[in-house]
């Protein structure tokens, strides 16, 4: 099938969740041509969520994280980084100068941890995105030491919880008044703050790290509250940014992610889709009917898997592409609390806190915009999250039906 891709076949850049799931879908949908996956990490695809949880805690090793990729007839090009894309010649350039021609292209380069702002941090300051990062952070955690975590987003909060669970003292510094405030709001943020404080974390909210230095084996930090912290290890957890540098000059719109249409097709700067080029996962910026902006990005596991499916369809069946309109969902495990979220809590203009009890470790917050449910976050209440999710899915389907009926 797909004689369009005879010859060089389909090239996937990014050997991780979104790239691999696109390959799985391409094969399932009947594509039997050449499939090449280029990835800059030396490792075959693995799962990232455990890196800040089971792996950091020492309860899982590298082999436990591997994602199934055998039997798909993939030619792997691992340890090779894409440095350029030429849409006219239809080639991907690699760091050693090699050129890979492609018929179809899948962009799945994910995102990278935001570094500490210039000047570069001293030695011994970590970020956490990949297996190698997690290995070196795990080796640096010392039961008799202190870990400094900069930023109480998802990764900073999970690293804090895991390190505390392993008996390490932790100072967690966050400029906002609550952890994860922009993602989940003040009430849920206060619940999360309570979890940290009860676990004995030295949580400093509304506080910034002004500077970092290294004195012998220790990292010293100066904080905006006027105090200094000395730590045996430090993690910068300031969020992530889409990995698009290799696409500079390609003609694709790569402002804050590879801009896509609702079929996961990558768009040129003039707003038209590039021929046979799709994107999926953390790297993609795409329109959702509930977001007001032309594109949003999501750094969630299930988004990568679901958009990969749509990307594969668009590549193989351009005449009948599928729409990507997910109810987003993510999970985060912190201490003994299973946080589960659906929809877009960050887009809410009001919240209904139905349960918020750090004693029973239970949380249930519904998020509304213009009086309509737009998302939910629960802690140790999975049954309720399933109910929220089905309400949101029904709303979204209803709207899709209404839009189709109106001929838009």
């Amino acid at each position: 099938m797909s004689p369009r891709f005879d010859g060089p076949g389909i090239v996937v850049v990014g050997a991780s969740l979104a790239g691999l799931r696109t390959c799985t879908a391409l094969r399932r949908l009947g594509y039997d041509g050449r499939l090449t996956v280029i990835g800059d990490e030396p490792h075959p695809p693995y799962d990232r969520p455990p890196l800040s949880k089971e792996f950091l805690a020492g309860r899982a090793d590298g082999a436990d994280l591997s994602l199934p990729g055998a039997g798909l007839g993939i030619t792997w090009q691992l340890g090779r980084r894409a440095t350029g894309l030429d849409l006219t010649a239809r080639t991907v350039e690699i760091d050693d100068g090699a050129l890979f021609p492609f018929g179809g292209l899948v962009i799945a380069t994910g995102s990278a941890a935001r570094p500490w702002p210039a000047p570069a941090p001293p030695a011994g300051v970590h970020t956490l995105r990949g297996l190698d990062d997690a290995r070196s952070l795990r080796a640096a955690l010392r039961r008799d030491g202190r870990l400094l975590v900069i930023g109480a987003g998802f990764i900073g909060s999970e690293v804090t919880a895991t390190a505390r669970g392993a008996g390490v003292e932790v100072t967690l510094v966050e400029p906002e008044p609550q952890p994860l405030r922009r993602a989940v709001g003040a009430a849920a943020g206060e619940f999360l703050a309570a979890l940290h404080r009860r676990a004995g974390v030295d949580l400093r909210t509304s506080t910034k790290v002004l500077s970092l230095d290294r004195v012998r084996e220790h990292t010293g930090a100066r904080l905006s509250d006027g105090t200094d912290v000395t730590a045996t290890a430090a993690v910068v957890a300031l969020g992530s940014a889409p990995s698009t540098d290799w696409l500079t000059g390609s003609g694709l719109d790569t402002t804050e992610g590879v801009l896509c249409d609702r079929h996961a097709r990558a768009l040129l700067r003039d707003g038209t889709p590039a021929t046979d080029v799709v994107a999926a996962g953390d790297v993609a910026r795409w329109p959702h009917p509930w977001a007001d902006t032309p594109g949003i990005t999501l750094g969630h596991w299930s988004h990568a898997t679901e958009q990969a499916e749509i990307a594969a369809r668009s590549l193989l069946f351009p005449e009948t592409p599928a729409d990507y309109r997910p109810v987003p969902s993510f999970w985060s495990d912190q201490y003994d609390v299973k946080l589960r979220s659906v929809g877009f809590p960050a887009l809410a203009d009001s919240v209904d806190v139905r349960e918020n009890d750090p004693d029973t470790r239970r949380l249930d917050v519904a998020y509304y915009r213009h009086g309509r449910l737009i998302g939910a976050l629960t802690g140790n209440r999975v049954a309720r999250i399933a109910a929220y999710r089905s309400r949101l899915a029904t709303d979204l389907e209803g709207e899709a039906g209404a839009t189709a009926a109106a001929g838009r």
Partner: protein, 74 residues
């Protein structure tokens, strides 16, 4: 079709209940409960549930599915 969930792996992510609410749900303590068998009409939903499970705890047995399961790890 028979539905197997490895309860040692399951972490109550809930993704399976999103994909196939007819089969998967939770009790008051957030433990997964699921039907042991399901009819052919649910095959699509079940395959989506298995693919959506972040810890790959779900296995579906049945004639048409055999080719797609038991894939070795990369």
């Amino acid at each position: 079709m028979r539905i197997h969930v490895d309860m040692d792996l399951c972490q109550s992510h809930g993704q399976c209940a999103f994909a196939a609410p007819e089969v998967f749900s939770f009790d008051g303590d957030d433990n997964l409960v699921h039907a042991e068998t399901a009819g052919e009409s649910l095959r699509d939903a079940l395959e989506r549930a298995a693919a959506a499970c972040p810890v790959r705890a779900i296995r579906i047995d049945g004639p048409a599915h055999e080719a797609a399961t038991g894939e070795p790890v990369a």
